[in-house]
């Protein structure tokens, strides 16, 4: 059976549970950041840019025939990119209503909530907001 947002969050939390210090955690995030070719180059334009003051994030959303939203994104900072990979893993492929209502508690549970604080200005918090806005808008479109 396909996993929902909650199950996917739990999976991420379990994965991070094995790390005993910040180094291992960040090594893993950086690995995720390096691995994923996240967005088609044609979407790396100002239209898709989310301005965090320090790192830039590009986000694209598309709905497939089955009515779920597929997100792709990228950032010029690798740690931000790794965090994005986690958020996308949790939200991408879900129905608009589920995305709008999602509580992304996993960020806090794995000890990375500092990256959501506005003073980090890394674009992650704005990206999540933008994902929900896309979901809200796309949820209103005729399927």
């Amino acid at each position: 059976m396909k996993m929902g947002i909650e199950e996917k969050q739990q999976e991420v939390i379990d994965e991070f549970g094995v790390f005993s210090d910040w180094m291992q955690k960040y090594e893993y995030i950086i690995e995720l950041g390096k691995e994923l070719p996240l967005i088609d180059e044609k979407y790396k334009t100002d239209d898709h840019l989310i301005r965090g003051c320090q790192s830039r994030v590009w986000l694209n959303a598309a709905m497939d025939e089955s009515g779920v939203i597929l997100f792709t994104a990228d950032s010029d900072a690798i740690i931000t990119k790794g965090l994005i990979a986690l958020v996308i893993r949790v939200l991408s492929g879900e129905k608009p209503t589920d995305i709008v209502g999602a509580d992304l508690h996993f960020v806090k549970d794995i000890g990375l909530q500092e990256h959501l604080s506005p003073t980090r200005s890394n674009g992650l918090a704005s990206m999540i907001k933008q994902m929900k806005i896309y979901a809200l808008a796309m949820g209103r479109l005729p399927a």
């Binding site: 910040w22 950086i30 320090q54 010029d76 900072a77 690798i78 931000t80 890394n122």
Partner: protein, 414 residues
């Protein structure tokens, strides 16, 4: 017999560090290494206690009461003004205007002197390495008066290109506004040369001294600048305090900035007359405890002494520069021979945000990003740097730990 002066600023780094309680804490499990002093310095006990003493002993509004406490507070406030005057060698206390900071001081000059004297086609000369606080206020006044902004270019070492001055300064130049020391690069600029050239052309000069005031002795009389601005929080003093020095004859002719209490002599609905300098520019109840604590910060700096401070800071700058040179792929931005202890740098292929995040995980506070000097980074064609900025309480051991932390972060990110 006179009592021995109290030691508030010992000439021994370990003892000096004891004067800064904030330094003794752990961040993310490691001892804090605070290398963001250009953003704001930490405060010594002497300054912190001056605020406590004010609130526990003689808090009162100033310049308006006849009672005992009001006199004590007014006295302490005006003594602080006199300390500032001596500290920067102004000619009279009335040339010292208290503001909320450098930004506030620059806006004051732009909105009063700038707005009342600039005409369409007049020119304001800035430099590529200005802080946004010394750009935006001038853009605003240029917008409303029709004046134009011109910009002094720099060389790759992060110094003014002086060869451009003769074509940039001309008969339409009315105001020159530049920093004494660059917050992003650490360059100490040859302001005296520029001030003299500007004066020959009939222009007035404002110096943004935010980054100079804690690192080099400032003598406004020698510099002959028309305005000099700085913030208390970058010189061991409290936030929300700053100084505008202005030549008396200019301050006299400038219209008032903000209206309110303190800045008036008489008020009626038909006609209000303004107070004398410096009160003309200090509307409302000022930051009394802040100004008093700024005075304490000056005493602290004076007791340390420029000679000792500069020796320490030069050691730190050299050690940090050599340390960064020893790491492969690290490039320093700002390589002038005349610098305060600031190193701005990038590691090849690594985003400053990533490096800054991993340094923070190791207890090291540096600044990442554009440091409010976007035009400067546009010139270098990068989006920003990491900046480590040192103060007298930093030591060589911290630079050693900084190096290890950098190596670790870089190896994780590579």
């Amino acid at each position: 017999m006179e009592a021995e002066p109290m030691i508030i600023a010992p000439h021994n780094i370990e003892q000096l560090r004891e004067e800064f309680p904030l330094l003794h804490q752990k961040v993310n499990g490691s001892p804090l290494i605070y290398l963001d002093n250009a953003a704001t310095t930490q405060k010594p006990l002497y300054v912190i206690e001056s605020i406590t003493n004010y609130y526990t002993g003689y808090n009162a509004n100033i310049h308006r009461g006849v009672h005992h406490l009001a006199n004590l507070a007014t006295d302490a406030f005006e003594k602080a003004r006199n300390k500032v005057k001596r500290f920067i060698s102004a000619s009279t206390d009335s040339e010292i205007i208290f503001t909320s900071g450098t930004t506030d001081a620059i806006n004051l000059v732009a909105q009063t002197f700038g707005k009342s004297t600039l005409q369409k086609g007049d020119e304001i000369l800035l430099s590529v390495m200005e802080h946004h606080s010394n750009i935006v206020p001038w853009q605003m006044v240029a917008e409303s008066t029709g004046a134009k902004i011109r910009v002094i270019p720099i060389t790759s070492s992060g110094e003014w290109d002086l060869s451009a001055l003769d074509t940039l300064i001309g008969e339409r130049t009315r105001i020159v506004a530049v920093n004494h020391v660059s917050n992003a690069l650490g360059t100490i600029n040859p302001v005296k040369i520029l001030i003299d050239k500007a004066h020959i052309a009939g222009a007035k000069v404002l110096i943004d001294g935010a980054q100079a005031i804690a690192h080099i002795p400032v003598h406004v009389g020698y510099l002959d600048c028309d305005f000099y601005c700085f913030s208390g929080h970058k010189m061991y003093g409290p936030t929300g305090t700053g100084v505008l020095y202005g030549k008396k004859e200019l301050l006299e002719m400038m219209p008032p900035y903000r209206g309110g209490g303190e800045m008036i002599e008489t008020v009626s609905f038909e006609n209000t007359t303004f107070n004398r300098l410096p009160h003309k520019f200090e509307a409302g109840t000022p930051n009394i405890e802040g100004v008093i604590a700024l005075g304490a910060a000056i005493e602290f700096i004076e007791q340390l002494g420029w000679e000792w401070m500069n020796e320490q800071e030069e050691l730190l700058l050299q050690a940090a520069t050599e340390m960064l040179h020893s790491i492969e792929g690290v490039k320093i931005y700002g390589t002038s021979k005349h610098k305060v202890p600031v190193v701005s740098f990038l590691a090849e292929g690594i985003h400053p945000y990533d490096l800054g995040t991993l340094l923070d995980k190791q207890g090291i506070a540096v600044r990442t990003g554009h440091h409010c000097t976007q035009p400067l980074w546009d010139w270098y064609k990068i989006s920003g740097t990491l900046r480590a900025s040192f103060s007298v309480y930093n030591n060589l051991e911290e630079i050693g730990i900084f190096k290890q932390a950098l190596l670790k972060a870089i190896s994780l990110l590579k």
